[in-house]
Symmetry: C2
Subunit: 341 residues, 2 copies
């Protein structure tokens, strides 16, 4: 069923039917009602491609799927998407996931733009100097960045206060009396990872505690790396009495490593992990319950979708950026350091 058919059924012109369906004011209420009913009855829905060709807007936002196993596509993905979906549903917008071909991400962005498949894009997992962001700005293509990057041109972004999160967590551990604090975080180069390290360093510096370079570890987020790196950390003499874990998965591995060394969690070794808030993995239910820096990635998804709509509505991008505070949730995995028996 196409517009023409529907118009014929109704004995109206295509124009009128189109106007009725798209909420134009110059259609009588009676006609509009009649048209809507008919559309519903025949299951008519405009051919999206024809519509897009005519109006030049797509009704979809794009996000790239890296086909390597990068951390940008981890277990948090489902929650982030879920948040996006919740908000995008309001505006009947779709999310187009385009796979990256030949590992050339920039090329993938360019194809997506020039083929006019999306109205805007979401960029995730930025590095300190992110060439994707630079490219999108240069191409004047609308986007919202999840995270931050160092570039001198205004653009829309949302990030959590990674620096503050780790500063807060580190300070808390210092307050508890810890002096040898380690961190196992994400890969180097990613802004979030660098920011966290910054917060960690700031907190130590403020108290005049020296940084032990062996205690700063960057790796992929997985229980496996958490386990391996924590084991290594705990093999040093003296070993760290507290470990910051960059993700819940990392924390699971760290938990195991601490236990396998025979240390008690929250006693000989304290742990604080960053928690994106997953419905399927709950920090408060761990044993011991886990102290976390908490920030819902689902909420971030919702908000980013909202920002996207504002960008597309023409709001100046320099007004569209937010840093979300991260909450430190104290639980049992962090406590005053206890000397090994």
């Amino acid at each position: 069923m196409k517009l023409k058919d529907l118009a014929e059924q109704l004995g109206l012109s295509q124009t009128t039917v189109s106007r009725a369906l798209n909420g134009y004011p110059e259609v009588s209420e009676a006609t509009r009602e009649r048209v809507s009913q008919a559309a519903l009855r025949y299951g008519y829905s405009a051919n999206a491609n024809a519509r897009r060709l005519a109006i030049g807007r797509v009704g979809a936002i794009g996000i790239l799927m890296p086909n390597d196993r990068s951390d940008r596509f981890g277990p948090h993905t489902s929650e982030f998407f879920s948040g996006l979906a919740e908000r995008l549903a309001h505006d009947e917008m779709d999310l187009l996931m385009s796979p990256v071909i030949d590992n050339s991400e920039i090329a993938a962005y360019q194809r997506l733009i020039s083929s006019k498949r999306v109205d805007a894009m979401i960029v995730t997992g930025p590095t300190l100097i992110d060439e994707r962001v630079a490219m999108l700005i240069k191409a004047k293509f609308p986007f919202v960045l999840h995270g931050q990057t160092n570039i001198d041109v205004p653009h829309a972004w949302l990030d959590i206060d990674n620096c503050g999160a780790f500063r807060q967590a580190t300070t808390h551990l210092l307050d508890l009396g810890h002096r040898r604090i380690a961190m196992i975080d994400g890969l180097k180069g990613h802004t979030f990872s660098e920011h966290r390290e910054l917060g960690y360093r700031e907190a130590l510096k403020e108290r005049g505690v020296m940084v032990d370079p062996r205690f700063i570890v960057h790796d992929r987020f997985s229980d496996e790396t958490g386990f391996r790196e924590a084991q290594k950390l705990l093999s040093y003499t003296p070993h760290p009495t507290a470990i910051l874990a960059g993700s819940m998965m990392t924390a699971l591995g760290v938990f195991r490593a601490v236990r396998s060394k025979g240390y008690q969690l929250g006693k000989e070794v304290s742990i604080i992990a960053h928690d994106d808030v997953f419905p399927y993995l709950n920090a408060s239910n761990m044993v011991p319950s886990m102290t976390t820096t908490r920030s819902s990635i689902r909420a971030a998804g919702i908000r980013i979708a909202e920002m996207l709509v504002r960008v597309l509505d023409g709001e100046p991008v320099e007004d569209i950026h937010e840093v979300w505070p991260v909450e430190l949730v104290l639980r049992q995995s962090s406590g005053p350091p206890v000397l090994s028996a």
Copy 2:
């Protein structure tokens, strides 16, 4: 830059340029080369909407995003998508994720179909009698089902042998000497969940072991439910000596519950979990390492994308269906039952 502009630059007609770019045979190699070069240089890429309108094919497959927190959108999502992406990249196909509005999934499917935004769909998490599948068949819209449903009309699907997985796991536990075996699996109504229960029951029946209805639990997949349900199971007298967990997240909770009761894993209580194979959560690294029924959901994603292409190529759907065997990987979390001290 549009086709017309490019054609003018080259002093050729739109048709020739179009043909050159789309690999039609009746273009001289010299011209094709010249055109490709120019396209690359000017960054030309066909307007996808115009192209789609003209050829009637979209180059995208659809998948619905439920906005409730259903298990269809769990931590395995990233791996499944990652698999899809890997394969779809070959054919330059996109993945369109459309949010479900007003919780009316059927309506969402219908809108997606009639608006011609996708060439085919992927349906996940089917129930025993799945109305979405029934609807797609009735609408003659191409799709591949991830999972199985009871319907009498041929259609394309891929599933793992859930029944066999749990039969195998249960039989293994029986062989080890267990007689009180419990299972904590996904929500009732979902085919995979029912099939697993079937396999479990078959294995018990074969050995003449009675089913204790208290030992069969269905719930969402999360560490929290795993913990809660396992605690309940272990409070019975006599308690089960083995527990089957439907997911890795569930298993994490079960691990905790067993420990919190003071039982040793693989001794007083054995555990076997189903493992979709996540890069960020590794069964072999747990302590004790976890016996699993293993099947890569990423591989399933790759294969489903492949099947989708076959469906779109017109291959009869009755030829397109597969059941993948599930591997039982023996590790330390399962052993002969040991009496509590």
